[in-house]
Amino acid sequence: MMDESVSITQIVQRLKGTNLHSQLEKQAKECLHKPEIKLETLKDDVRRLLKASGMTWLSDEKKSIKKIETTDSLSCRILKSLNSMCTELGIPLARKRPVAEQKELTNKWNEMGTDEPGNADTHSLFFHSDILKVLVGLKNPNNERSEDLTVRSHWGLIQVSLNVRDILQMVSLPFFISLPSIFLIHYITVFFRMHLHIQNNTLVSEQDSAAAQQYSRQGCPTGLRAQLWSLILNTTNDPEDITHYEQLKARVIHHDLLVDNLIYKDVKLTASNDDYYFVFEDYLYQVLLCFSRDTAVLEHFNYNCATPPKSCIQSKSGSEQCAVVYPPNGVIPFHGFSMYVAPLCFLYNEPSKLYSVFREMYIRYFFRLHSISSHPSGIVSLCLQFERLLQTHLPQLFYHLREIGAQPLRIAFKWIVRAFSGYLSTDQLLLLWDRILGYDSLEIVAVLATAVFVFRAENLMEVTSLASAEAVLADLSTLKVMPLLQIFLFATSV
């Protein structure tokens, strides 16, 4: 009993000062003003009202997911392909490296990109288009009733009805309210920056995570971004973190995994061909190979609706089979996965630091982009939000694109699933990711996708095929994220 209350106190202490705590407090205070509250049932009433206000409890979330067809079928399919590739190519899922190979890898650790690493015959196991296929096939078995208007009148591909915020809700909530007005930003930004520079130094030195997160909503100055993100994500570069990274590195040296080939392939095909990120090829290998072996990542499955894929490992004698999680971190990389890491290479040049930040970003945000859930930052909700926003605000465009066989989501999906990495120029991408961290939500990705369509609406109305629509939206490298978002959010909501 004593231990429990001590740990609870410790948890409460840690929660104090975080964003979640202040949000909870605020909501609870608001609930107190409601007339339904009775003193006797205070605790239950507040809890009930909190739920009604939209704050969901993790346990509830998990229950609601079961209503939607489970998509572990996606992971099952992927694992099956992995196994068949394994048999086809004759490479084991995992093998211990001979000593000579271990030595060679240790020497080459910093320049793995120089040779052609990995097996040339491996191919990427799945692409974002595969994820999209699964999403499109999602149906809520509880919504078989034909009177469900929301589903029928929705023109897009996502056929489940989830609660997503629309523009008015976003603009009125504290969510976006700190986005300064478009008229002010040009004139004030410069002065703000210089003025706040002094403030920033105190921010960083005081190690205030909540303040850093608040600040990040306005965008971080380039010179401080690395430290601010690190603060927000609560990553440190303590000796323990460095040791952890070194341990992972040792695991890479000792064992070769089949998924390593997927990583090599992915990096060679995506990041190495990118104008911005090709320089960081070696870092990407270092981070991703270690990531695959990091069992600490498995913890995120506690709040991820998916379950980690398991594989059967045969014991030497062949008689026993046991199911183990494969790869050790439970995440099978798909084509483009390395693009989650690439932008971070601009911020951190020490591998262990880069690793910690990436891992944290993955288990907080990126995993939602390829796991199926009803979470508002999950890929399903983001896609639905994008489609709804576009349909609500530019119905003519949506209809036109649908008619010519160019469903908007088919074009926007690749942006959303990668949080725009590889599509925007890096400085703009980092400004976008500032807001993901600042608002602790990926919704801004969906909003930006809509804003891009709105921006190019005129040209899109003229196209007559999916290919030409793709062409209009092929190059986003000149876009400026903040003005685009502001025009969309504030001009359309007025």
Partner: protein, 414 residues
């Protein structure tokens, strides 16, 4: 407009020709009456050589100064810079200040150079003094470069000079790096434009540019050094390496470099680096300005090759008089096209036939991606004041950081 500009060139590159045609200029041959001649280095020697006695008329313009090689030939460049330093010392200018080891504080940006095979013995002596340092070796005489090699053993010199297939086996060796072998950032290749107005000098700098990395990472291990492609190099060599990538060509834009440095090293350090690069450019140009023929018919587009070491100190490696106009990637092509375009806008404002009698001042609105580094005309008229406002035309990054800098030079380039 009196008539269309008649142009000639002996460099068949689309980035040039497209720019001329876009202005509606007429192509002629060099035996005709031409107004604008974009010539290669070999041709300029003929045009201005004493024998031919070519005289340019007032409506003719060429893209090189007669003695442009004062900067581009390494030995002349060093000679000019040394002379410049001595002059400043004589004047007791604060720019010529030295530290306790006798090294120039502000004018030490050309690495120690030896010419081979002439200075071989001197080089060996120097090499033995600091045996763990790394040297850069580059064959000189060939414009587009056969590559710049990194060596740390004497035996390697013999190997490289044997392998170089040019008749001219002269090589230079420079000390560019410190003793710790770390990752080099690469070379910034920033085309520069030198314009001489009748009143004085004016340098502008193109804001965009590329930096290059070797596709094979440099390591100190000898096995790597045997690899022909372990060197910082011009694209010409990289193209034949297996790793050469046609999408980015192993080049990164300078703005990416800047973002990376700012994010990982901090803004002040990065601004300081770029300030130093501008400083190098301006000082080297001022060093040769007195010896450059002040010919109104000429302008020059120099390309600066600068190496940045891991302490973020830039070193001037060389200056090219005819930066490569070949494009290896799409981005490259766009950059070079815009460069020529902006250049032509400055030297032939409004696309009119040049008239070298009149004073030309820099059309500030038509600079395009160029930014003014130094304008002698402006400097002279405001030499009395150290007024920040006088540099409103010179957008050189964060001035805030410079005003708090300790160095005496930053307030003015004059």
């Amino acid at each position: 407009m009196a008539g269309k500009v008649k142009w000639v060139t002996d460099i068949e590159k689309s980035v040039l020709i497209n720019n001329f045609e876009k202005r509606g200029w007429i192509q002629v041959t060099d035996s005709d009456d031409w107004n604008f001649y974009w010539m290669s280095i070999q041709t300029i020697r003929n045009v201005f050589s004493v024998d031919t006695g070519y005289r340019l008329s007032d409506d003719q313009m060429v893209n090189h100064f007669p003695n442009h090689y004062e900067l581009t030939r390494k030995d002349l460049m060093i000679k000019n810079i040394k002379r410049y330093r001595k002059e400043l010392e004589k004047e007791a200018s604060p720019l010529a200040e030295k530290d306790e080891n006798g090294k120039h504080l502000y004018l030490d940006f050309v690495p120690v150079t030896f010419m081979l095979p002439a200075d071989y013995n001197l080089f060996v002596e120097e090499f033995r003094k600091s045996p763990s340092s790394t040297w850069i070796m580059k064959p000189c005489g060939k414009a587009q470069g056969k590559g710049i090699f990194l060596i740390n053993k004497l035996s390697q010199i013999k190997k490289w000079s044997r392998d170089s297939q040019v008749e001219n086996t002269n090589s230079e060796i420079l000390v560019g790096l410190n003793n710790d072998n770390s990752q080099l950032f690469g070379i910034i290749d920033s085309p520069l434009h030198l314009l001489i107005c009748t009143k004085g000098l004016c340098f502008v700098r193109y804001k965009l540019g590329f930096c290059r990395f070797c596709t094979v990472k440099y390591t100190p291990s000898t096995s790597e050094l045997d690899n022909m492609f372990v060197h910082l190099t011009n694209v010409a060599i990289q193209k034949h390496g297996d790793d050469y990538n046609h999408v980015h060509g192993g080049k990164w834009t300078v703005s990416n470099l800047r973002l990376y440095l700012e994010s990982t090293r901090g803004r002040d350090v990065t601004n300081h680096l770029f300030d130093q690069i501008h400083w190098i450019i301006v000082q080297s140009l001022k060093a040769v300005a007195p010896v450059m023929n002040n010919d109104k018919h000429c302008f020059e587009c120099y390309g600066y090759d600068i190496i940045i070491d891991d302490k973020l100190k830039p070193w001037l490696i060389e200056v090219n008089a005819s930066p490569s106009l070949t494009s290896s990637t799409a981005n490259d092509r766009i950059l070079k096209y815009n460069l020529i375009n902006d250049t032509l806008n400055i030297v032939t404002p409004n696309g009119e036939i040049p008239d070298c009698r009149w004073n030309r001042s820099l059309p500030k609105e038509a600079l395009g991606h160029y930014q003014v580094l130094y304008d002698e005309e402006q400097a002279l008229s405001e030499s009395a004041e150290r007024d920040l406002r006088s540099r409103s035309g010179q957008l050189l990054g964060s001035k805030g950081s410079r005003s708090s800098s300790v160095r005496p030079f930053p307030a003015t380039w004059k």
